[in-house]
């Protein structure tokens, strides 16, 4: 039979990184084909090649039995390929209509004419139930609606090969359900769908076949209804995934950190509502939730990156609500930030400068304002050893040239080694390979044994379930549940995460 799409022996290299290593993907017509893999497995890269954003070093692409060359998104469009990106490529200040026609405008002598486009879009909106207001501005509509705009972009261009890159990361469970329905409709119509995802349950729900990538290599293609979630997970990570981490029993101590009635407003709506929580010594409190429900703002508020006006934050017995960031560090806060390259490090500084970025002014590192370089070097070398931080030239290495995993280990080492009582870790293992993830999880558990308080904010439910002693669920800026990891399960947490259930449970 003729496959709709064949990507044969694709190799793509970025400098020294082999993103796709001799990958072959064959997709049948009118099927929903999932592309499964961890972060950095090469799924996005492969699809970017199909969409013309990159060109492969080796290999070829065959559509409908004919070999094709795709040099840019226009070529891809001409072949009927469309892509909904993970990070939406929309112009905030434009209307929905303008965003959809951008690049494919009907014109009369250079002047845009909207009539035909409107008609066509209104038909498409009817047909596929993609309700969205054509004249609304992107910045005024919800994330779910924005995604529909991205989908309409593809349909407007008569795409019949639709690529979805991690489409559910930003959706509520209801919106995910709707999306699955839309995808099934497309397939029934004869359109071919490729779904990039790392969510096993979604694959089970909607995909026909699944190709697994791991570290740039193609591992295999399976029929979804003949394969279990565990089998797919093993293919994805390469070994039996243990779903639990060794957690010793630790006696929890007094409250070391508490937040009372934290409220935050912005852009005309409430971002955080009446947040109350506390962290004890020797416990890991995990905050679960879908990205965009206030976790980012919550952490920024308690760490001082944004100002707080309503509420009280206490650390180590002292009120740090209005304290400067430096003061918070001095009183005992440590923070592994969500955006490690933006906040966590100064990329153009070297490793040792980064290691003392918060306490360079303290007595051990300076004398009468002159930096004590010897001491800084020693301190850094210590951290390098203890935390296995790999870099080209040791303490002198520019942080930019270090890998993501090593950058994160450096940040972790720095935050743990400083005097602190509370460690706030946000997405500490995002984008890291399995080895680094294990290392960091181990470090967090050890922190717990050392009677530190840990606030873990993560989008990975596995991580939350594995590490936390208590789980709080944040939804639309509120804490909607407090759960015991030993007694709860994915479904229950998922329900709270999507607002399906509210109310604190002991």
């Amino acid at each position: 039979m003729t496959y709709k799409i064949e990507m044969n022996h694709i190799t793509k290299v970025f400098g020294s990184l082999v993103a796709n290593d001799d990958v072959t993907l064959k997709v049948k017509p009118a099927e929903i084909h999932a592309l499964l893999g961890e972060n950095g497995a090469g799924k996005s890269t492969l699809m970017s090649i199909l969409f013309g954003l990159y060109q492969a070093e080796d290999g070829d692409i065959i559509i409908d039995g004919e070999k094709v060359t795709i040099l840019n998104p226009n070529d891809a469009n001409d072949l009927g390929i469309g892509m909904v990106h993970q990070h939406f490529k929309l112009v905030d200040t434009f209307s929905v209509l303008d965003n959809i026609i951008l690049g494919a405008e009907d014109t009369k002598y250079g002047v845009i004419s909207y009539d035909e486009a409107r008609k066509k879009l209104e038909n498409l909106i009817e047909k596929y139930h993609l309700k969205v207001e054509l004249d609304a501005l992107i910045k005024d509509i919800t994330v779910g609606q924005q995604q529909r705009v991205e989908i309409l972009k593809m349909l407007y261009r008569d795409s019949n090969i639709l690529i979805f890159d991690e489409p559910t990361a930003v959706l509520t469970p209801q919106e995910i359900h709707d999306l699955m329905g839309i995808m099934r409709n497309f397939a029934k119509e004869g359109k071919t769908i490729i779904l990039i995802t790392h969510k096993l349950n979604e694959i089970k729900e909607v995909a026909d076949r699944c190709t697994v990538l791991r570290r740039g290599k193609m591992i295999g293609t399976v029929n979804v209804n003949e394969t279990s979630v565990e089998e797919m997970a093993t293919m994805m990570v390469g070994r039996k995934v243990s779903f639990t981490v060794d957690k010793p029993d630790v006696k929890t101590g007094e409250v070391v950190f508490s937040v009372e009635n934290l409220n935050l407003e912005g852009k005309g709506k409430k971002i955080l509502t009446d947040i109350n929580l506390s962290v004890h010594r020797g416990e890991i409190v995990g905050i679960a939730g879908i990205d965009g429900n206030g976790q980012t703002e919550f952490v920024q508020a308690i760490t001082g990156l944004i100002p707080t006006h309503h509420g009280k934050v206490m650390l180590n017995g002292k009120d740090i609500t209005k304290a400067s960031i430096r003061k918070k560090y001095e009183i005992g806060m440590s923070h592994i930030p969500e955006d490690r390259q933006k906040h966590g490090v100064v990329l153009d500084f070297n490793l040792e400068s980064n290691m003392v970025i918060q306490n360079y002014y303290q007595k051990e590192f300076q004398n009468k304002s002159f930096l004590k370089f010897k001491q800084i070097r020693e301190y850094t070398n210590n951290l390098i050893e203890k935390f296995d931080i790999r870099s080209e030239r040791g303490a002198e290495t520019d942080l930019r040239s270090m890998s993501g995993g090593n950058q994160q280990k450096a940040i972790l080492g720095r935050e743990i080694s400083r005097n602190h009582e509370l460690l706030i870790a946000v997405q500490p293992t995002r984008g890291l390979d399995v080895g680094a993830i294990e290392f960091i999880h181990k470090q967090l558990i050890e922190e717990r044994s050392r009677q530190k308080g840990i606030l873990l904010v993560s989008l990975e439910l596995d991580e939350i379930l594995d590490l936390s002693d208590r789980i709080l669920v944040m939804y639309e800026g509120e804490i909607v549940a407090e759960l015991d990891p030993k007694k709860t399960n994915y479904d229950e947490i998922g329900l709270y995460m999507s607002g399906g259930k509210r109310g604190l449970k002991a």
């Binding site: 960031i325 430096r326 500084f349 918060q358 360079y360 930096l371």
Partner: protein, 364 residues
């Protein structure tokens, strides 16, 4: 040691290429207009101050001091991630205050020029402080704010000179009293106007270098310059850093402006012209790769070819050729990083092609 030397050479390569290219294009332009005189003119330019022996060298050093300080001001701001295009305005207010004190105040002996110099620097500091505050607290783009300050300074100068220190019948200020003049060094370079300005400048350059690279303040400023977000996360007071950086930058420029006019017989013009030396500072800072020591050498170089421009009087060309060369040099520094990367990639492609050919040759 060898590693450091290597690193140094790699670092200054962009500047050297830019200079070479600028001179090359300047040569082409001169050849286009008058082939006969082009080469001799170029040599004259390059020799610069040396054309006039010790006197020429002395004058070169004298002229270099203000533009080195101006370059230092711009470079210092660069390090903190800020663009101080307002060095001219800061120099101008520094010059005015110094002249005002030099003409009107009666300060005993040695102190006169010291006070004039310091207060001139202070004036520059205040002039740089304003855009700094605007940037830190109202997020006003410092480039635009600095440019506005330049124009405000030019008008302010006319007004103040007219009111206080105007020279009768001329559109310029009176010359400063003898006691306010910077001590001369012409015994070293007879016939020239050189004074201790250049010595003070070198000392300031060294102090600033130490400040930036060895102190906690320098550490903070550099961190802010590389990453506002990262330095904020680290607990640094980024607003304060911006203000301090612009204030100090203004201080250096102000000192430069003061040095320019604490000379005997030199009158501060009341014509509203914005000091060109301030824009020279941009060229100097860029050529000097944003480092204080770099600014020192770049400033000496620029002063030298400027001097060369004066010696072009016997040729048909005009000194503006120097400005054109400098402009081209700046343009080249702007694109040099990309051009270097292009050359590197081109070189690698050629290498890869050669290897490929060899492979195919071996297989055949």
């Amino acid at each position: 040691m060898k590693n450091m030397l290597n690193k140094f050479i790699i670092a200054i390569k962009p500047s050297l290429i830019a200079v070479a290219f600028g001179l090359f294009v300047g040569l082409i332009i001169m050849l286009a207009f008058n082939p006969m005189e082009a080469f001799p003119a170029l040599i004259t330019l390059l020799l610069g101050g040396f054309n006039g022996g010790l006197q020429g060298i002395g004058n070169t050093l004298y002229m270099a001091a203000p533009i080195i300080l101006s370059g230092l001001a711009v470079a210092f701001a660069f390090k903190t991630g800020l663009f101080n295009i307002g060095a001219s305005g800061q120099m101008m207010v520094g010059a005015y205050v110094a002249v005002h004190i030099g003409v009107l105040w009666n300060v005993t002996g040695l102190l006169h020029w010291i006070v004039a110099l310091l207060l001139g620097g202070l004036a520059g500091l205040i002039w740089g402080l304003i855009p700094g505050l605007l940037k830190a607290f109202r997020n006003v783009n410092e480039v635009i704010a600095s440019i506005m300050m330049n124009y405000i300074a030019s008008f302010l100068l006319i007004m103040l000179i007219n009111q206080n220190v105007i020279q009768e019948l001329r559109a310029e200020a009176r010359i400063v009293q003898r006691s306010a003049v910077l001590p001369s060094l012409s015994f070293l370079f007879p016939g020239s106007t050189i004074n201790i300005g250049i010595v003070l400048t070198i000392i300031i350059v060294i102090l600033v270098h130490i400040l930036i690279h060895k102190t906690t303040l320098g550490f903070q400023l550099r961190a802010s310059g590389f990453s506002m977000d990262g330095s904020k996360y680290a607990g640094m007071n980024t607003k304060r850093n911006i203000v301090v950086a612009m204030a100090l930058s203004g201080l250096f420029a102000g000192l430069g402006g003061a040095i320019m006019f604490l000379t005997f017989g030199k009158a501060l013009p009341a014509d509203g012209v914005i000091f060109a030396e301030g824009f020279d500072g941009i060229s100097v800072a860029l050529l000097g790769l944003g480092e204080p020591i770099g600014a020192l050498f770049a400033g000496l170089f620029l002063s030298n070819i400027r001097m060369g421009g004066y010696y072009l009087q016997s040729f048909v060309f005009v000194p503006q050729i120097v400005d054109m060369i400098v402009a081209i040099i700046i343009y080249m520094t702007a694109i040099s990083i990309t051009v270097q990367a292009l050359f590197k990639r081109y070189g690698e492609q050629i290498k890869a092609w050669k290897i490929n050919r060899k492979k195919k040759g071996d297989e055949a």
